[in-house]
């Protein structure tokens, strides 16, 4: 990327464009993303995201690990919603093995994934506040997230890399009185959403910073294969939980919130609404939790027949998919992860051009990437 001299018409005066390295060490790139920006004053004329600083080669690692061992690695992709990663790996392997998970297992999975969605969106809410310059929402969001992590800790023993959803079901059934604790948490979090709206959503400065900024058109969103809240923010109602239900999502009643014009505020608003919908889903799942065992019978050594499978689900950041190729051994032949963060990030260099420097962090934050998933 080369800079150019800008001549000001009618005078001898000339200025020069500046190249600014945003990252990899920068507080607002949400990890180790590097964006090379070409700026003219405060206006961006070109942007080039540079990924790969967190690359760990998990797709290659999968070829040397047995199917259950790979589950541990899957936690590390999108570390803010590890339950979804666990689930997608299990769904892909279960497709290969053609195992049916009992209803209770499916419901437990739904509860965990939706709670994790709330936790993940809470992190988005908090860090987005920091990106825009408001510190207080961050700590409020983390206070709520802490309670979800406590619930997960009781279930799985871990707070971030749960490894709870296993091939054929879940690790263990719910501990005693967990349902009561979960219900009291849900009751506790509902009034918090009103607080968030007062604190940030309806704040005039916040609206000024996010509305009409970083607009993604419907056509662009589809041609760049944007998914998740970023797509729904553009006004396209596409949600795998509704359109291609997995894990008995068809049993639950919930709405798919959509934005109007696809700016930063719409993407933010969609996520806030999704948290409310997730609360509804968890409540329904707790109300109708079936009895019985949560786990299906799974062979001790998993050796799927020769074949391939593709599973996808609606992760907090978009459509998370796994393509798994089995050569009939106890290790997969090839694994590919369709990481929503990575694909959503590709639109960045298109929508950044013409924006102000301060908007870079607003737009990057609204796309909500997790670098662990972008680089894998």
């Amino acid at each position: 990327m080369a800079t150019e001299l800008i001549r000001i018409p009618g005078s001898d005066f000339q200025t020069e464009e500046m190249i600014l390295n945003l990252g990899p060490q920068h507080p607002s790139t949400h990890g180790v993303l590097r964006v090379v920006l070409k700026i003219d004053g405060e206006v961006i004329t070109a942007a080039q995201p540079d990924v790969g600083y967190l690359h760990r080669g998990t797709e290659k690692l999968a070829e040397n690990r047995t199917y259950p061992q790979m589950l541990v690695i899957s936690d590390r992709w999108d570390y803010l919603s590890a339950m979804s990663n666990n689930l997608i790996w299990c769904l892909a392997v279960e497709k290969l093995l053609q195992i049916e998970v009992p209803l209770r297992g499916d419901y437990l999975r739904v509860i965990m994934v939706e709670l994790n969605r709330i936790a993940s969106h809470l992190v988005f809410f908090g860090t987005y506040g920091i990106d825009i310059g408001a510190y207080t929402p961050f700590l409020h969001a983390f206070r709520e997230r802490e309670k979800i992590l406590d619930l997960f800790e009781e279930v799985s023993g871990a707070r971030m890399t749960y490894n709870y959803i296993r091939i054929g079901g879940v690790m263990a059934d719910l501990p005693e009185d967990w349902i009561g604790k979960c219900r009291s948490f849900l009751e506790w979090i509902k009034p918090r959403f009103v607080e968030y709206d007062i604190l940030l959503t309806e704040n005039p400065i916040f609206k000024d910073r996010t509305q009409n900024i970083g607009i993604i058109s419907k056509e662009d969103a589809i041609s760049y294969a944007i998914t998740g809240p970023n797509l729904r923010g553009c006004g396209i109602s596409f949600d795998l939980r509704k359109d291609e239900p997995y894990c008995h999502y068809q049993d639950f009643k919930f709405d798919v919130p959509t934005g109007k014009q696809g700016d930063c505020w719409d993407r933010y608003w969609v996520r806030i609404q999704e948290m409310k919908e997730s609360v509804k889903i968890v409540e329904q799942a707790l109300d109708h939790l079936p009895t019985g065992v949560p786990n299906a019978k799974v062979p001790r050594i998993i050796r799927p027949p020769v074949g391939e499978s593709y599973a996808q689900l609606e992760a907090p950041r978009g459509v998370l998919g796994i393509y798994c190729l089995s050569a009939g051994e106890d290790k997969p032949y090839r694994v590919h992860v369709r990481a929503p963060s990575f694909i959503n990030l590709t639109i960045l260099q298109k929508i950044l051009v013409g924006m102000k420097l301060a908007d870079v962090v607003a737009i990057l934050g609204s796309i909500d990437i997790v670098l662990g998933e972008v680089d894998r």
Binding site: P27, A134, H140
Partner: protein, 386 residues
Amino acid sequence: MIFPVLTQSQKRSIGVLALMGLIGGGTAMAIGELGMRLTQIWEFLLPILQKLPIPEMASQIAGMVIECSLLIGFISVSVMFMVWWERKVSAHMQSRLGPMTTGGWHGWAQTIADGIKLILKEDIIPESANSWVHRLAPVLVFVPAFICYAVLPFGSNLIAVNLDIGVLFIFAISGLSVLGIVMAGWGSGNKYSMLGGLRAAAQSVSYEIPRVLSIVPILLFVGSLKLTDIANYQSGMWFGFIPRWFIFYPVIGQIAFIIFLISSVAETNRTPFDIAEAESELVAGFHTEYSGMKFSLFFLAEYAYVFLSSGLTTALFLGGGSGPLLPTWVWFLLKSFGIVFLFLWFRWTFPRMRVDRLMEFTWKFLMPWSFVNILIAGAVVLALGV
């Protein structure tokens, strides 16, 4: 629920606070007017000094040094208090506790510990920096802040230099700090710092204008630029219960106060106008490359300006030291720290504005309204012949 149910520890805290308030108030009343007491001490010392074989010049210089030391002491202590206070206020707004261990009671000694740490830190000058500009910048930021305190009336008779053009002096001198910020931004040899410095320059120059214009109505009413005159003008009551503070002047006072407060927040580079620092965008802006004592000078200057703005607001809009029972300097400090609390409140509630919207806000909103306010005030002055 009108009366919230209090826990035992909350009751105890309220009791301790009430007791502290009583003791503090009692001590303040016993001390009385600080300006008067200082004059008494001076009058007591003067004859003793005159008998000693010291040239008069030396005693005069010594007097000035004492005055300056008192001011520096006040600035340092109030900044230390404000930093601790800000940490506590922000912590409680964010459902945390803030510093709790250093010094015992609610971490009161945290700022002292921080200060010692900053003094002991290595002083780094980046290779790409322009060494002299880099070194001079923090001094240029802090010195004007200190000079401005000289004309701030802390109470009746408690003012270091009672200038006839006090208000103008404060605006003129505090405007110099921008130079230091621009130097810090340019001299650090860092692109982020440079952007921060440029933003700071644009912002401060723009907000200076509505800030000065907003107080023109006051000057119209008072007819003097002397801060003590303005404070004295606001003593007394309307109808026996509304203080004659400028903020209570219908419409004019409120518009002027709001414009002045907003521009003051912008002048001190604090959220929602902290675009020069903009931690999430510019990584700290103009003071990214500063460490140790030089960084702490920037820090000191920021808080010194916060208190200066609050003190100025108190003197201009809240009647200076006027108030019942307690001596004037206590009222002045109470009101000023009340305004400081507003500053803290803004900072921990609002997001940051964008730089171009900030400019639009000052030129297209604050400026026209301050002109309108001047027109209204002028008409009122003409009609009433105040």
